[in-house]
Structure formats: C-alpha cells, structure tokens
Amino acid sequence: MVTAPPTLPDDPADALAAVGALRRLADRVEDAAVERAVLDGWSWADIAEALGVTRQAVHKKHARRVQRAGIARGGR
C-alpha cells in the first residue's frame, strides 16, 4: 500500500488534501476492520481496547452499521 517513503508535498494545498484523504482512508479501514473483528467473534470491549477508544464510542459508531450488514452482534 505504501509505495514510497511518506513525503510532505511542497504545495500546502496538496499536503492538506492528503490529510483529508488519509482520514477518509482510515475511516474505511476502520469500518472494514471492525466488521472483520465482529465476524471473528470479538466483543465490542475488545475492539474498543484495540482501537484505544471507549466501548460506548465504538458501539455507537459501528453497531447499527454492522447489524445492518447482517453481521449480527448484540449490545456487548
């Protein structure tokens, strides 16, 4: 995925755009990674600890989406 050593683009507009793009990429990776963890039987508490956030935060952010995807997991 990383094809070259990370460098800061000379143009601030490009550098700032890269920040936004990396954040969106991180969000995508997080969504996919949480789904995979749930499929593998991880609890919300374990996922939260791995992400370094509270269980409430990870549950609020992902529970409904994961349930809608048919990857069932209850409140824990």
Partner: protein, 145 residues
C-alpha cells in the same frame, strides 16, 4: 434563514446529499455530497458521474502525494454508513454561504441555485480540487446560476 425558506428543490438537494454520503458508506455529509446531489439535477449543466470520478481521482492523487497507493487497497466495509450521516463542517459552511447569498441578493426563498453557489464559494478543499480536475468553468457556472 430557517429551513422553511428552502424551496422544495433546495430541500430535495439536501436530502439527496445525505443519500450520496450514505450510499458511499460515509459517516458524514460533506460539501462534495451537496455538489453531487446538485449535479444530478438537469438545470445546472453538470455531470454527476463525471464529478464523482473527479472526486475519486482527487482522492487517489492526494494519497499518492504522500506515498499511498489506494488503488491497491480496497477495504470496503459491507455495512453502509449508520442510519443518518451527520452534516459536517464543510456542508454546513456551504449551506451557511447559501443562506448568506440569498440574503445578500434579497431573495426570500432559498433555491437549489443558492445551495450550489454556497458549495462553489469554497476556495479550498475537495470541491474546488475536483472541479479543476473535471475542468468545470466555475466562474461561468456562477454567472449562469
């Protein structure tokens, strides 16, 4: 200006923007989603799919600039975004600018055209970068609204 002043078309654009965010799995509605929603309407002469491609290319180039090849990585979550993606700073700002534009012109109703002017007012960020990639003549577009 309250939401009641929004015309039916302006409201529809706001609702469609949320749908644009939702269908691409995003947790937030950004100004780019307003742009895509407005471009899907016939009256502005914009091409929604062309702009969606330009936004994708903008993202790919921005990641490439810091050494990340996103084409290789496709971690697509199966689940869509949670029920209601929330309006984030960029889309709120676009709507505030739309309201300001309508007020400045003395227009009583806020139209889809005002929303587009609000979106186009951004000098920086995803929207102007994608519009440049798509070679949209923004000045001309602004004059025609």
């Amino acid at each position: 200006m309250a939401f009641e002043r929004f015309t039916r078309d302006a409201r529809a654009a706001v609702v469609a923007a949320r749908e644009e965010a939702r269908t691409t799995g995003r947790h937030t509605v950004e100004s780019e989603h307003l742009l895509l929603a407005l471009a899907a309407r016939p009256e502005f002469g914009l091409d929604r799919d062309q702009l969606a491609d330009a936004l994708a290319l903008e993202e790919q180039r921005s990641l490439a600039a810091v050494g990340v090849d996103a084409a290789e990585l496709e971690p697509r979550a199966a689940g869509r975004s949670r029920h209601e993606p929330r309006f984030a700073t960029s889309s709120k700002l676009a709507l505030q600018r739309a309201v300001a534009t309508a007020a400045k012109r003395g227009d009583r109703r806020l139209t889809a055209g005002h929303v587009l002017l609000g979106v186009l007012a951004a000098e920086h960020g995803r929207v102007p970068r994608a519009l440049r990639i798509a070679e949209v003549d923004v000045d001309r577009l602004r004059r025609e609204i």
